[in-house]
Amino acid sequence: MLMYIGRRLVLAVFTCIAISVLTFIIIRLPPGDFVDAYIANLASTGSSITAEQAESMRREYGLDRPVVIQYALWLGRIVEGDFGVSMMWRRPVTEVIGDRLWLTMVVSFAALFLTWILALPIGIYSAVRQYSVGDYFFTMLGFIGLAIPNFLLALILMYLGFRYLGLSVGGLFSAEYAQAPWSLAKVWDLTKHLPLPACVLALAGTAHQIRIMRANLLDELRKPYVITARAKGIPERRVILKYPVRAALNPFASSIAYIFPYLVSGSIIVSLVLGLPTVGPLLLQALVAQDMFLAGTIVLLLGVMTVVGTLISDLLLMWIEPRLRITGR
């Protein structure tokens, strides 16, 4: 068990490092460096700085040093909590991002939670009642979930809501709470708005998980030990839940770990369509305006939080999957 946690932790650290390298590359991809962009930005508002000031800025940020050292300096500043200044907003990046990062995670976790609590019982149901009306219904729903990209689903729901209910279904808060400070009432307001984006995000993953759970449980149910259990007169519910379901959980569990990055990824584009105050719209604005510190920070933080989220999801799995606890694989 400790082996398993250790392996996961090492991988998580490596992933974080890889994400930071990728982020650094993204920040440096546009031609010119940060100071060039800063000067151009100043020039567009009419002010300017002298060549010496530019030089000293370059020295301060280590832009005259080799790339590897630049990367180390940049990483050092980030560890200290200094993510740089957003060019577009002229404020520290952390201030601009604010609550948005947490809201992204709230939406993604809500979707993850929904995937878990929907896929497991539906998967079991579909396998136990194979070829029943319900099974066909969920199979259909599953195929639809797989075939409609989530942003398209969001778009269609928005249109239907607007056309037939006459209301705007987007957003995470009602108008009166959008700018208000956090309070219990605001949290409740968020809870009321959460189901729609969570469902939109969770549909594809749930469809996928149902199929995995159904296929694995069907394989298990055909095995002789199930027949033995039935022959012994064990109640049907117990026959199914005691062993086959737990055995079928393994592939289900190992693939659910990959769902979290997928959900975070999807939340970016769904947020844009539904107008959610997550980092999605901010990231797009930053990228279009080439505000690379802001964009890079968002990519970095999203990546790191995804790794942490996946880790938590992995550890939770150990709780439902006894084989992980014992063999560590």
Binding site: F14, I19, L29, L146, F151, Y262, I269, L284, G303
Partner: protein
């Protein structure tokens, strides 16, 4: 599996017993695949869309780049098959009148003005397959005025015909999927093959790399890389860059399949036999192992394709992928991003239909192929 198909299959098998015994792996796969009805239908749908991609300009009615403010946001227009003299497909021409409230010219169909449709008729100029200059189209209007057209699916803000644009968009959206899968396949076979063949440290490193890539949220990453593409690049350059970006992240699943097959086949008797006879490692790989998992690779490819198509569509939808004047499904959907626009012109959502249809078809096709390739898997 129902009893009837099983018995008819066994009857067929006994008739063609000898041929079946000699059939190669690919032929066996095809025979099993044919029994999967949904997958077979999907194969036709996929083939239809690829044909549409090849003959897009021929099927298109009006020039997909031609703008005309007078026919902005025209709703879909039906084709009338009969007039008073019998079968004569026609559409109504447009009539302009001034709205007395806004003093703007408004164009509406005029039932008294019939414009007839001819098949294989001349329309706008284009190059068939990009080579042969021609102006023949599947159907076109006879002597239309510049404002008239057949708007099967309506028009967009700039008055461009959505049906024609959808037909032409098929070309980029489907080919970018194929190109990305091709690149991913090369990466997947190379790295997955190495992983499965050498094992040990190589395997560990590649497996960790795959886990690493899969634990990073892809869309922000794509967005970051795609946004850094220079604005000055041509459509073709952006096209290849997007292909590269999508496949650099999308090869992991293919590598996993290839590795799994290599690991399974390494223990097979015929591989050991080939080794004992003294065949070289390369010969064993290409001559003995590869043919027996081609069908698996084809199945994995057809399951990977929809993901690639969605990737391109998402990126272009965000405005970070291909840019106009290129036409792809994502770019068409970009027009439908705004709910206010959609409320006025809901037909813009029609661009979603081919996306969903193709993705669904590829998923069924992939499922059918996978079942056919590996009846025990």
């Amino acid at each position: 599996m129902s009893a009837t198909t099983a018995s008819s299959a066994s009857a067929g098998a006994s008739l063609a017993d000898d041929r079946l015994a000699q059939a190669g792996q690919l032929r066996l796969t095809w025979l099993r695949f044919k029994r999967h009805k949904l997958a077979l239908i999907s194969l036709f749908i996929v083939a239809f869309f690829y044909l549409l991609a090849i003959f897009a300009d021929f099927v298109a009615i009006s020039d997909p780049h031609h703008t005309d403010a007078r026919r902005s946001y025209m709703p879909p227009q039906g084709i009338h098959l009969f007039d008073e003299n019998g079968f004569a497909p026609h559409v109504y021409g447009l009539k302009g009148s001034r709205d007395m409230k806004t003093f703007k010219m408004v164009y509406v169909p005029d039932p008294s003005k019939k414009i007839y449709i001819a098949f294989f008729a001349p329309g706008y100029e284009y190059n068939l397959f990009g080579l042969i200059p021609t102006n023949r189209h599947l159907f076109a209007l006879i002597n239309p005025t510049p404002v008239d057209g057949i708007f099967l699916l309506g028009t967009d803000q700039l008055g461009r015909d959505l049906f024609s644009r959808l037909a032409v968009a098929t070309r980029i959206s489907l080919s970018i999927g194929l190109a990305s899968v091709g690149l991913s396949l090369v990466l997947g076979i190379l790295l997955g093959g190495m992983s499965g063949l050498y094992g040990g440290i190589v395997d560990t490193v590649i497996q960790r790399l795959i886990e690493l890539i899969r634990s990073i949220p892809t869309i922000p990453l794509w967005m970051g890389i795609a946004a850094a593409l220079p604005n000055t690049w041509t459509v073709l350059q952006v096209y290849f860059a997007i292909t590269l970006i999508i496949s650099l992240i999308g090869w992991t699943e293919l590598a996993r399949v290839v590795r799994g097959r290599f690991l399974a086949l390494r223990e097979e008797d015929f591989v050991i036999a080939a080794e004992l006879v003294g065949a070289g490692q390369f010969r064993i790989m290409l001559r003995h192992m590869l043919p027996s998992f081609t069908s698996h690779v084809i199945a994995a490819v057809s399951l990977a394709l929809p993901a690639m198509i969605i990737s391109e569509t998402s990126l272009s939808f965000l405005g970070l992928g291909l840019r106009p004047p290129a036409i792809s499904w994502g770019i068409l959907l970009q027009d439908a991003q705004n709910v206010q626009v959609l409320a006025g012109a809901p037909w813009l959502l029609m661009a979603a239909v081919p996306v969903v249809l193709v993705i669904l078809a590829f998923n069924f096709l992939g499922d059918g192929l996978r079942d056919a390739a590996d009846p025990y898997g």
